[in-house]
Point group: C2
Chain length 409, copies 2
């Protein structure tokens, strides 16, 4: 198999399923293009003689039974859905790499000792319905019907109707967790520019950062910008500015791997000549250490309260996401490192600042990830890109990792 | 005339012309309700035997000739238009007070020595078309056709078409400035809460603050909030926060009468998990001293450039409004003070933080203003309000001022 050519063909083929007229890929859970993409992947899996099946919710599996330890499974895969107007690599590169790595190994080495299985997960991005990781959460028996029973997309189409439209349904919640899986390996684009800036080919991921997301609403008093002396004011934008500049200063002080972002800011009435009576804003902060993440969140909440008291405002603090950091499995991490060294590629061990299916799976099965570089760090955009040669290196290191896990004693 | 009753009736009558179903008054330049309101005022003026006329653009005048110095005119008035969903006092209280003050004087004292004239100005707020002070600017021969020739409202209705629809048109730009006007006095609601907080009935306005309005666009780099280490970032929101918190701190340091407001903030893409690549924001700063205003604006621009350099951003600085402070005429100010003392009401001499027709007129004719309190400082809202007794006091002090100017040697 000429890997570079086949990889390019597969990426192009999948990139034609779910094209958005406004740009990029928009392939959302349970849409027609979503099913078409899963069917394409299924065909590729069957071409290699893998046994394919869907679970109840629409995760697709393709497996080859191990020759010596059939009850031990090495699994690899990623998610098949995209964000709206997304790129052609996030998720689908991982799915394609997984089956091409398996194809490569079967062609070169024949049957593995352990069972090898590819998973193309139904949904990860949360881009259609207000729920994310539907694929991986069902795979590890975490997802609840109640999470999705009443939700709908932005056009008010109900989740449950869409799921059933293609013949899928809720899983049996009595079904126990699979016991055969010995490791899970996921390859993904970095979605940052560390590898690019440091001129490295592979990121060996040892941890997925935890994250907290807050929405803060500061309430002051809307007033005439001309006639209200400064001492009479309760300026919510001033409150926001003090809080956010202080906390970003602190993030720089505290240093990597802490990141903190005030991404969304919405004053009311948001007019040039009116002192803002209200501001709603978000904080997204992440760290690989849960104590450090909690400490930063606590410091932030204290700063909000301090500023609010100083300026005579009121604050509503809503911590609506609080995900723990997820360390990867040391053994699987070391297998990826070994593979990178055996392939003689440059790499570094690093954490993932973005969330992935692997963080859902890691508490249940030994899991690790590998990254390929993102050009300009861009993702979630039609401009998302990676050199084809780097993509090929990724598949090779993944294949070598799977070889080490499935073909060696 | 029972002033309180008549004042209330007139306010109620005008408040029924231009009611907005979504709340408050929306009586915009050259709309049908605008013409209806001018006609109502015209009827009131004619009821008192005043000679009424419109100029070409739609300013309404009502005059009584002086018995001894007919070639000297004392003028009083305000604007008849409102903002969208505005209150029932901003502008129209000044118009009503002007003709009721004249009515009161004519009834009590007969003909004045000097001519007395009421003006109901066509437009001041800039609330329909992207132009403001159309009434006063035409009155003092400042407005240019080119200011309005190509403009339209938000429904793409052209200014010029609307003006002509009611039979109005551009003034003759060769027409010279009137030479008969000896003073102009305008009464208005304070639109702030200084009078209310200090428990005073009248504000004697000695200056109208100058103002600068900026729109700044900071450009950084949009990035993934999770995968972009802090040192890689060009966070436009961080830039905004540093600049705005610093400059508001400085405004507090510098002190009254400086005011500074960052009222509008618009990050892009304005999403919780994306470092903002761009922020557009406004600064509105005002001062009664032009050097001080300029110094603050310069300091602000320097701070923008300093922060931009520090953070590796780019900035576009657009100073789109730069109006000089307008001192009021000392003599007219003293007449208003005398009147307040003669009426035995509590007052303070203060500046206006808001713009008014008087600032357009003051460079041409000796001008001053008086304020009545605003409850809660609220304006530009259906909640705009002043105690009726305070409104009555306003009319009386205005009348006494006009008496001092028009009835005494």
């Amino acid at each position: 198999m000429e890997l570079k050519k086949v990889l390019e063909e597969n990426i192009n083929a999948l990139s034609n399923i779910g094209n958005d007229p406004t740009g990029g890929l928009t392939r959302l859970l349970y849409s027609d293009s979503w099913l078409e993409a899963q069917k394409y992947v299924q065909k590729q899996l069957e071409q290699d003689g893998l046994t394919t099946s869907y679970d109840e919710v629409g995760n697709l599996f393709g497996s080859v039974t191990g020759a010596k330890y059939p009850e031990e499974t090495i699994m690899t895969g990623s998610h098949i859905d995209t964000v709206v107007n997304g790129g052609t690599l996030d998720g689908q590169y991982g799915v394609i790499s997984s089956y091409l790595a398996v194809r490569y190994l079967l062609e070169k080495y024949g049957k593995p000792l352990r069972s090898l299985e590819v998973i193309s997960m139904a949904e990860e991005e949360g881009s259609r319905f207000p729920t994310a990781f539907w694929g991986s959460k069902n795979f590890v028996q975490l997802a609840q019907r109640s999470d999705v029973e009443d939700i709908a997309d932005s056009e008010e189409i109900k989740f449950v109707d869409e799921m059933r439209r293609h013949g899928f349904d809720f899983r049996d919640e009595n079904e126990p967790l699979r016991k055969d899986i010995r490791s899970f390996v996921e390859i993904h684009i970095e979605q940052g520019s560390v590898l690019e800036n440091e001129n490295l080919q592979i990121g060996v991921v040892n941890s997925i950062a935890g994250q907290r997301r807050y929405t803060i609403t500061l309430k002051g008093e809307a007033n005439h910008a001309g006639t209200t002396p400064m001492n009479y004011r309760k300026d919510a934008v001033y409150g926001f500015s003090k809080i956010s500049s202080k906390m970003i200063d602190r993030a720089y002080e505290i240093g990597d791997p802490l990141v903190a972002t005030f991404g969304k800011v919405e004053p009311k009435p948001n007019t040039v000549n009116v002192v803002a009576g209200e501001v709603s804003f978000t904080l997204d902060c992440r760290h690989t250490d849960s104590e450090a993440l909690k400490a930063f969140g606590t410091e932030f909440e204290e700063e909000v309260n301090r500023v609010v008291k100083e300026l005579g405002l009121e604050a509503d603090i809503d911590l609506w996401m609080d995900e723990a950091p997820t360390p990867m499995d040391e053994l699987v991490v070391s297998k990826i490192k070994d593979a990178a060294e055996e392939e003689e590629v440059s790499y570094k061990v690093m954490h993932s600042g973005a969330g992935h299916d692997s963080q859902v799976i890691a508490p249940f099965y030994p899991t690790a990830m590998l990254f390929v570089p993102s050009i300009g760090g861009i993702s979630h955009s039609p401009a998302e890109n990676t050199d084809l040669d780097d993509l090929v290196v990724g598949v090779k290191v993944l294949a070598r990792t799977l070889f080490n896990l499935a073909y060696k004693e």
